[in-house]
């Protein structure tokens, strides 16, 4: 029943697409980690003339205030990755707790929690996130909160289905018979077995969170004190024809990051559930 990690790793490593994704993501992570070393501490520092094209005085040019695009992209990588990871962590935890309880206990608890989940699945995510951020005032915290709030429902449904499926397996029933506490059973017996499906979906959530954040910033709902790709694209979009690189290059970085994460997600999916390969959108 336990996932055979050796086989998973082997399958994953045989997938060229997934390897490409992993290498790409590693490069982006390295960029994020080394941002300060490579480009200085403050990406908001004005270093030169505005709207310098790439490969002139500055590697990737400057933005409309004369700030280095390279520094922005490097520091933005931190923010995008951090937002992606944190929101996914929050929404996955929320999803597992709510979906797990619903799936394990069933009955009215299930009914109530599923109505709650449906509520969040019914209101269009982007619209709801926009409303929440605008109302609570745009900042990195409200952005994370809003994105997590609109992302957890999918994971909850998945967790519920997995917990329901595993709830009636022999090893769980045996534990119940032995008098093990529900919490322990859920945490130690069911969760490890449900994790593979959840991890695959969570990896997709990282990507969609990053895109949601960029979308919010694009609409002017980002945190002005944090250099994120969304902020860069948003602030450069009026200059698209004068200086395409201001939003063009962060846009490319965004695309590559999401691409890398998706490739890894696909690889994981294939490795964990070879029968369903590709079913995860």
């Amino acid at each position: 029943m336990k996932i055979r990690l050796g086989r998973v790793a082997r399958t994953f490593l045989q997938d060229r697409w997934a390897i490409a994704g992993a290498i790409l993501l590693l490069a982006i992570v390295a960029l994020a980690v080394l941002a300060s070393v490579l480009t200085g501490n403050d990406p908001f520092t004005i270093v030169g003339e505005p709207n310098e094209p790439p490969f002139g005085g500055f590697l990737l040019g400057t933005d409309s205030l004369g700030r280095s695009i390279a520094a922005g992209i490097a520091h933005g990588a931190r923010v995008s990755l951090a937002i992606g990871l944190i929101t996914t962590l929050i929404s996955t935890t929320l999803g597992i707790v709510i979906g797990g309880i619903a799936g394990y206990f069933g009955g009215w608890i299930d009914d109530v929690l599923m109505r709650l989940t449906e509520f969040f699945q019914t209101v269009p995510a982007m619209l709801f996130a926009i409303v929440v951020v605008a109302i609570l005032q745009p900042s990195i915290v409200t952005e994370i909160g809003a994105i997590a709030l609109v992302s957890w429902a999918v994971l909850a449904r998945l967790a519920r289905a997995e917990f329901m499926r595993l709830r009636n397996r022999e090893f769980v029933i045996a534990c119940v018979a032995m008098g093990m506490k529900s919490g322990r059973i859920m945490l130690l017996q069911i969760l490890p077995n449900a994790l593979s499906a959840i991890v695959v979906t969570a990896s997709v959530t990282v990507a969609t969170s990053i895109l949601l954040e960029a979308g919010l910033s694009f609409l002017g709902l980002g945190d002005p004190n944090v250099m994120s790709w969304g902020l860069m694209i948003g602030s450069g979009r009026t200059e698209l024809r004068t200086a395409w690189w201001i939003s063009g290059l962060p846009g490319l970085a965004l695309l590559l990051t999401v691409l890398a994460i998706n490739l890894i997600g696909d690889g994981l999916n294939e490795a964990f559930n070879p029968r369903n390969a590709g079913h995860q959108p």
Partner: protein
């Protein structure tokens, strides 16, 4: 009675007739105005109502000024010119103002226009309902209409600033026969307005466009030239610029496309950007300090900010030259009237950074081990991308002298609440319109009586200085232009010394027009005027 300005109706008509005869007699020369064509203006945001008697939002004014006329118009130096009124005079004590009206004006629905419309509009519509009504017409006590074409305003006290508030932008004249006795704000005509102006309302497709048609019976003979004006409301600035570039639109109001795009299109030879048409608004961008709470209750800290900011950088790099450094509260637009002076403290000095740190030292804000001196917050007014960028620049500029600035971006509702309701802010950037006279648009930010919780764009910094209050009060009712100028100069010197604001720059709020658009600017107005002189060289 002292006549300040007098224009003869007869002379006016003669000139017009002569011009017409001339045009009719000779074949139209190459430079002649060509009638016809549709002009598309991109603007933002879509107005809530297009009757600008109840709303002074920019776009409401842009649409309303085509449909309505005012009693007067103004030239580039803000001197009055005739419009619905042909003559006007002010009594020696300044308390009676008489207007003679045109006889040949009809509303778009065919009703004749009379003095009753004017009296009704000023007393019952504008004074109580226009956002600036109390400021513009507060002292008006009663209005007499001795005949159909004479209006006499009786004022509580002399109030010279009022003479700059009769344009169609500030005081559009509404038809009494459609409004009298109704609930003015909910009157159905507000959204399908009937005016006397050069263009008639045709259609409003919400979320998309407003269509105005030429008024064939307009009282200015041969005007307007255009057959149709269409306002297009597009939500995205890049798309608006694209519409102008592709020729789908011919004119973009200021703020609807990025200043960098304006320059790019100008350089590419697609558009021209004639300088002017913003004098009636006299906009100035500034930082408002919360002068009640620390640290900006200390004049030295406020001045340190003023010294730390490089105005040239903001104008050149962020607004791409559409502005000039501001020296004080009153815009240099008022130079023509003698009200402006630059004999004030200047903050653009070579050793400005040292002066800033000295002031901070003196105020007790010494550098901490990490090099910063104090933490402050800057609220960015939600009025466009350039202001957002300006906020980011100010953060960097203040960092040089030890301020650690965090920026806050809120939407209009959040921003106005924070700055005018809870006063939970330290510094806020915004652009303020000065209007035709400092009393009308500038005074409101500095007088104690205008500290009004819950009302946006009042004295937000809660600056209170009895000396300044007294000066503004004197300035408002002073009839002698020379003494008035002296008061204005004193106000500027004292206010700059106290620095309740940082006056960053005077915004040149110009419209961008494709090359085929001619005569966009008329006096002190461009897109916010009647545009009856504008024509298309197709």
């Amino acid at each position: 009675m002292t006549t300040i300005y007098r224009r003869s109706l007869a002379a006016c008509l003669m000139v017009a007739t002569a011009a017409l005869t001339l045009l009719g007699a000779v074949a139209a020369p190459a430079w002649a105005q060509k009638p016809g064509g549709t002009l598309v203006i991109v603007s933002t945001p879509e107005p809530t109502t297009i009757t600008n008697a109840f709303n002074s939002a920019t776009t409401a004014g842009e649409v309303g000024t085509k449909i309505y006329d005012g009693l007067l118009e103004y030239d580039a130096n803000l001197n009055p010119k005739p419009s619905l009124a042909t003559e006007w005079s002010v009594s020696a004590d300044g308390k009676d103002v008489t207007f003679k009206l045109r006889h040949d004006v009809k509303w778009h629905d065919g009703h004749p226009f009379t003095s009753a419309d004017v009296a009704f509009s000023i007393l019952e519509v504008l004074k109580p309902n226009h956002p600036r009504g109390p400021g513009n017409f507060g002292p008006v006590q009663s209005i007499d209409t001795p005949d159909d074409y004479t209006v006499v305003l009786h004022l509580q006290n002399a109030y010279p600033p009022m003479m700059r508030a009769f344009s169609s932008l500030d005081a559009p004249i509404l038809p009494k026969h459609l409004y009298a006795g109704t609930n003015l704000r909910n009157n159905a005509n507000n959204n399908k307005p009937v005016g006397t102006g050069p263009f008639m309302f045709k259609d409003w497709q919400r979320g998309d466009s407003i269509v105005l048609e030429r008024n064939p019976n307009y009282w200015r003979p041969g005007r307007p030239y255009l057959d149709r004006i269409i306002f297009r409301f597009i939500n995205d600035p890049a798309t608006r610029a694209a519409a102008l570039e592709s020729g789908e639109a011919q004119v973009a109001s200021f703020g609807s496309i990025a200043t960098s795009e304006m320059r790019r299109l100008e350089k590419a030879g697609v558009v021209t950007i004639p300088l002017g048409g913003f004098q009636a608004l006299a906009p100035v961008a500034m930082i408002t300090f919360n002068t009640v709470d620390p640290p900006f209750n200390d004049k030295r800290v406020r001045q340190a900010v003023a010294y730390a900011i490089d105005r040239k950088f903001i104008i050149d790099k962020i607004f791409f030259g559409f502005g000039q450094p501001a020296t004080g509260p009153i815009s240099s637009v008022f130079k023509g009237q003698g009200l402006f002076t630059d004999q004030v403290i200047h903050f653009d000095v070579p050793d400005r950074l040292k002066r800033a740190t000295d002031l901070l030292d003196a105020a007790g804000f010494k550098p901490k081990p990490d090099g910063t001196r104090l933490d402050v917050t800057l609220d960015i007014g939600p009025i466009g991308d350039e202001y957002r960028r300006m906020g980011e620049y100010i953060k960097q500029a203040l960092k040089q002298v030890g301020f650690n600035v965090s920026l806050r971006n809120e939407d209009m509702a959040g921003f106005t609440r924070r700055t005018s309701q809870t006063y939970d802010f330290q510094m806020a950037t915004a652009a303020w319109v000065g209007m035709g006279d400092p009393t009308l648009g500038v005074q409101r930010q500095y007088v104690t009586s205008n500290i009004k919780k819950g009302v946006p764009f009042t004295n937000l910094g809660r600056y209170s200085n009895p000396e300044i209050d007294a000066l503004w009060a004197k300035f408002a009712i002073e009839l002698d232009p020379k003494k008035r100028a002296e008061d204005a100069h004193q106000l500027q010197q004292k206010l700059v010394d106290d620095s309740p604001m940082v006056w960053l720059f005077e915004l040149q709020q110009v419209a961008t027009a494709r090359k085929e658009v001619k005569n966009l600017i008329n006096g002190a107005f461009s897109v916010q005027g009647g545009m009856y002189e504008t024509w298309l060289d197709r």
